[in-house]
Symmetry: C2
Subunit: 482 residues, 2 copies
């Protein structure tokens, strides 16, 4: 890795990712194995995801709350599958206030148990339902193979937790959350995710049904980018979440939970990035436009002043803009590479000749249908034209990612075709539904069932691996995953 | 405590507070001693504080980031005073991923140490300064005498951490943060805080100078509501935070830190609340206006529909409004008491006769200069008039709290007058500056030096306790504190 650049994506995808996240100042490795320091440039992306998703959550009637992060060990043990799923990943506080604790405290890996306890306390009658809660929080899952943003010991997320009178209402909620996540992925992150249901072997520990959105990264792997769970009455039974129905009968509530995390930032990097570095969708870019004034000494003063003036005007127009006028020791070429590596969608170069002509030179981070190389833009039109140019760039990234995903997804009906396809993309294939069979496929190809896509047509056939009859009435989407 | 009400404030302030925070659905006791569940009604207040304070922080050039909550024990030990101050309050993770850890991990009580480590890494030259960071986070300090919002084992806050070229610049920052906190307290929470410097005995562990804002609660006690610390080069030395100055010399940075927490919610409750319950300042009220439709059966349908229509109109006008139309089983009188207990500033009652006359009955949570009892407001003028009425109410609460504070603050020059004054308010008195003398005053009266007010006039005299010469060139503000 050179000081300026990173290992090209095309050479070593994994090295490219690990170097880029640090070089682009998104993140730094934390002092404790598997933890991360999210730097301002990375945290701003998270804030933009938060603002949008929080708006959707509130608009649909949910309220934010905050539950404690220390959970008594006994709570976790009440739902058998849940504790079994999470036990290997727990961090445990055993000493506090200078003393050994009588009951060890779990640092939350997720909050179904503690929230279940309070739902039981707050819900009395059918009038208290649905109870629609959400929290923005940090959670801890001890990771053996950590990777910045994708799998870290501590990460940030939101977790929705809701309780309903029956399965119908709970399932409506489960699908609402899934659609909200797909909307955030497509509309903000320009990631054309596939929505689908997880097979039993891939379900959340304690769920009856788990739904997922899966994005395709530029190495052909899948990234699970948000999940929504219908929990049935499993947690209601464990925590006695019950209500009096209209006839006065005591009835178990049906609950859901759903989460989206800082993992999404990793998805943005791997969906759009290239050999030069990051490519950020404008709606999630900390800086949508960067202005680089050019010239030395007196000329620098003139172009610098003009750049600041233009920057102020773009800011008033609601554009997130950065003026690169505080690093006189660096050459323009270095700055251009730097901002390309950091993924800024639009760069405006402002040299003395540009200034004389009343223009700036505009460069897109990638050539699009609308604009190939550099072009000039009139300074007095920049504030009016840039919002449209940014929207085109956003749309371009989504279309490009869609085309990539479609090129790398194939319907396969033979084991040979399957094995070849999942080495660099996704395969749509029939599967028998047996977990042992899933395990064999994984052992041979490293591919796992990502989901049964909601939109796949009704079809049946022999399992791609064992030829037993297919189980889901549809093809299953298989791929290697992060 | 009756089912509907709480112990009157005038009877037992402490019982009133403890009952009210739960009854008003702000908070519930957590499952682990000293922790709290912040319910939506309480969390919304925090979100409103956050939105305002985050805007001020960003406007002044700070950027948000996120540092890990697990800190290696060795980090804390690097600054001697710091570890000594926090050691008794630490929660420690000793087991993770199924194994005993080699080095125990501290759950952050505050983040100077871990952020110091990264500042040292990121800062090379004077061009990298000032470095202005902030994070919104949860922190843990084991509490022996927990109290909801005021002292909880886990709480939410923001912590600013900045590095500067010299003391001047760091002190400007320290005072900026103090003023930002005073602004939030006065303008949002209607708490007329006193800004001042802490005496050495009350300083933050590791700081050179600590500044505070102190609010007076309605029992005459003080609540420290935000602190800002000039850390000198203490943490810069411990973590090697240094930069090359313009002449190329390696120089220690000067750092600051500052924090405001969910404790502010407790301050709002105890500054404005009364025997009936909460009184919320409109700028922090989850619901600024509640509309209660009145009438049974067919009448309920008509007034309910009109209430929802009015609610939608007020919402469009930017007012946070709640329509109480989902509890037909409850009487209007019960609802009125309920919303008064929960502190909603303005209640609009909409009965069949009101509706016929095209009006609603408006009731303020407290009589103000502008409005004493109930009055009527025309439905077609409500959206236009209510923002002004809410602003008047906000202003009224601030003036009322100012008058209360001034009535309960006296300049005293004898020990007898001092002891009497601090039993129900604040005393301005000379002090010698010795920590042993502060300790004696505390042992005798339970009062502590809250701060040396920035705005106090220059004066000197004999110590109120020991008659030695006064130390600060000003009087010191003493009071009992939470």
């Amino acid at each position: 890795m050179s000081r300026e650049g990173v290992t090209p994506q095309s050479e070593d995808f994994s090295a490219w990712y690990n170097e880029l996240v640090v070089r682009a100042q998104l993140v730094d490795r934390g002092p404790v194995r598997g933890t991360m320091v999210i730097r301002p440039y990375g945290y701003r992306i998270w804030e933009l995801i938060q603002a949008d998703l929080d708006g959707r959550i509130k608009e649909a009637g949910h309220e934010n709350a905050c539950f404690p992060m220390f959970i008594p060990e006994s709570y976790l043990k009440r739902e058998a599958e849940h504790v079994e799923g999470f036990a290997p990943e727990l961090a445990v506080v055993t000493v506090a206030g200078g003393k050994e604790l009588e009951e060890p405290l779990i640092v939350r890996p997720t909050s179904e148990t503690v929230i279940g306890e309070y739902m039981a306390k707050w819900i009395e009658s059918h009038r208290d339902l649905p109870l629609l809660l959400n929290q923005w929080a940090n959670v801890v899952r001890w990771e053996m193979r950590p990777r910045m943003f994708l799998r870290t010991t501590e990460f940030l997320w939101q977790e929705g937790h809701t309780a309903h009178v029956d399965e119908d209402d709970a399932m409506r909620e489960t699908m609402w959350a899934l659609d909200a996540y797909a909307g955030v992925a497509r509309e903000l992150a320009a990631i054309p995710v596939v929505e689908g249901e997880k097979t039993p072997g891939e379900r959340f520990a304690g769920a009856v049904r788990t739904y997922t959105i899966e994005g395709m990264m530029r190495d052909g792997r899948a990234l699970q980018s948000g999940t929504s769970h219908y929990l049935g009455t499993n947690f209601a039974k464990a925590f006695e979440i019950q209500y009096q129905d209209e006839e006065g009968r005591l009835t178990l509530a049906h609950t859901t939970s759903w989460g989206m995390s800082t993992r999404m930032i990793g998805g943005v990097i791997m969906t759009h990035g290239d050999d030069k570095g990051l490519v950020l969708p404008p709606r999630l870019a900390p800086y949508q436009v960067v202005i680089v004034p050019i010239g030395r000494d007196e000329l620098a003063e003139r172009t610098g002043a003009a750049a600041r003036e233009l920057g102020a005007e773009l800011k008033r127009a609601g554009i997130r803009v950065h003026v690169d006028d505080k690093r006189p020791q660096l050459r323009p070429g270095f700055k251009f590479n730097d901002w390309e590596m950091r993924g800024v969608p639009i760069r405006l170069e402002l040299g003395p000749r540009d200034l004389e002509a009343g223009v700036a030179t505009l460069a897109r981070r990638l050539p699009t249908v609308e604009g190939q190389g550099k072009e000039t833009i009139r300074l007095d039109q920049a504030a009016a034209r840039l919002p449209g140019i940014l929207e085109e760039f956003q749309e371009f990234l989504l279309r490009r990612a869609e085309a990539f995903r479609d090129e790398h997804t194939r319907t396969v009906d033979s084991w040979e075709a399957f094995a070849e396809q999942v080495s660099g993309g996704w395969a749509l294939a029939f599967h028998c539904g047996r977990t042992e069979c899933e395990d064999e496929i994984k052992a041979d190809t490293a591919a796992t069932p990502r989901c049964v896509p909601l939109e796949a047509p009704e079809e049946s056939g022999g399992c791609i691996r064992c030829d037993r009859p297919s189980a889901y009435g549809k093809r299953v989407l298989f791929g290697r995953a992060y």
